[in-house]
């Protein structure tokens, strides 16, 4: 897929709380076909401390509006500056980058799972699976009920299960404690979240001989396979998360 450098205009900057914000960005040219799991590299203007671009998963795509959405957590000065963007502001973006989640075989029982800000690529993936005739289960984990975002969006995609660490909503505990994991069998699990969460899900999948794809987050400079900084240890050696990932089958990872 041809990589492009394009200016996007901020259509909306929504703040669902908890240091998160959702940017809806309109491209100045017609969007190419985008795949769930792919990411963009955003140039942060007006932040002298932010030298490199910032990579973000594509959270949602609306071809009708010619927009993409990014779900971003404020984690440092770069994301702080981005959080203050207003309608009409321009962002320079390199995209589409990276591989994508793979489509499952017919009639496969699917689980989308993730937590925190890691759910960013799951919404786009869920909608994409729906379009391809799948209705996945969705298991989301959060610290507490106040952290839950876009619950209704996920309900449109499939049946939603929740955990919160304090038990304020859904089952108490971490993601992999949820009863649905022992009560249901899945053929394919798609996961994105904090490293420890993805490793726990990978363990569950190995034990149950379930296929599993995870989307990794690594520090990167370029995003298109040149700097070789974002490597993941795989059975085929060090591979770049930006071009060989960010989606990896857990069979390939040295976890």
């Amino acid at each position: 897929m041809t990589k492009q450098i394009r200016d996007f205009t901020v259509v909306e900057n929504k703040n669902p709380g908890n240091n998160l914000f959702i940017l809806e960005l309109a491209c100045d040219e017609v969007l190419p076909e985008l795949k769930p799991g792919q990411f963009v590299q955003v140039k942060v203007e007006g932040s002298p401390d932010t030298f490199l671009r910032r990579p973000f998963s594509i959270h949602d795509v609306d071809y009708g509006r010619n927009t993409v959405k990014l779900l971003i957590q404020i984690a440092g000065k770069g994301t702080e500056v981005l959080s203050r963007l207003k309608k009409g502001d321009i962002l320079n973006i390199i995209y589409p980058l990276g591989n994508s989640f793979s489509l499952p075989s017919e009639n496969a029982r699917l689980l989308l799972t993730g937590g925190g800000c890691g759910i960013a690529p799951l919404l786009f993936l869920g909608k994409y699976l729906n379009l391809n005739g799948f209705r996945p289960d969705i298991l989301l984990g959060f610290r507490n009920s106040e952290r839950i975002i876009e619950y209704e969006e996920y309900q449109n995609i499939g049946k939603v299960y929740l955990t919160t660490e304090d038990g304020s909503r859904g089952e108490r505990g971490v993601l992999t404690d949820h009863s649905v994991l022992s009560e249901s069998r899945y053929d394919m699990v798609y996961c994105c979240g904090p490293d420890s969460m993805m490793r726990a899900v990978a363990d569950y999948c190995r034990k149950n001989r379930t296929e599993c794809e995870v989307s990794l987050e690594k520090l990167m400079a370029c995003g298109f396979g040149v700097c070789l900084c974002c490597v993941a240890e795989t059975v085929r050696g060090n591979l770049c998360t930006c071009i060989d990932g960010p989606v990896f089958n857990i069979k390939d990872l040295k976890w």
Binding site: K3, K218, L219, L228, C230, V231, N238
Partner: protein, 305 residues
Amino acid sequence: MVNLGFLIGTLTFKNPVLTASGTFGYGTEFDDFFDVSRLGGIILKGTTMEAREGNAYPRMAETPSGMLNTVGLQNKGIDYFEKNIYPRVSDYDTNVIVNVNGSYVEDYVALTERINKLDKIPAIELNISCPNVKMGGMVFGTNPDSAREVIRAVRAVYSKVLIVKLSPNVTNIVDFARIAEEEGADSVSLINTLLGMAMDVNTMKPSLSTITGGLSGPAIKPVALSMVWQVAKAVKIPVIGIGGIMTASDAIEFILAGATAVQVGTASFIDPVAPVKILEGIESYLVRKGLSDIRDITGIINRDS
């Protein structure tokens, strides 16, 4: 029409904008963004005889106006290069230059001999300055005797254009430039990254897996510029300036200080079309100044008035 061309040894460069090894992959990664053949040359990423896995993650840390890296020369080795990379890059209508690395003098020589057989590679850049590998690399670049030994051995087996890439992590880089010139190098390129370090105060650990790494980006530009100026005054062979060049104006600073050409490095990570923007900017600068030849300004500050 403005002339941007020049010679290094017997090799013609159509313009002075090259790309720095390790920041431009094999060029093909940039095909989506611009026509790589517009550049004066591309320096492919560091190559070794055997495949190297490189250093552990994390390999990168962003620092004020720059970044640290510790990739550790990850590459698939010369066999893979010959079979899979060379056929893809040999169609570029520009000088495709291989950056040559090794742990021992014998490795450098053996690799150079292999590359010498590749018709479409008219030059090598001898990397004696990588800060991120334990053996070789900077060991050769920071010890005058070792530097001399490896340059002499490579020169003995290579009659095409030989560029030696110098380390700034020395007391006096001019000494090493002189050694390269004495041993018959056609050019020196400088600077490689500066040794640097960053800490993560939250985890109380170093930011890089190898603790120290190489600093690049605009943060090092003034250091690089002063070294290029010193070296350009001291040697007669062409000097290629590298270090934090983000804009045409940055590149012109190096040229005025004595660089015959420049390499664009870290800038390509942020703006993949930076090299070609810099090329266009140099051209329009010359037009604006009413000059017809880049050589009119090369090292202008070093000339007797």
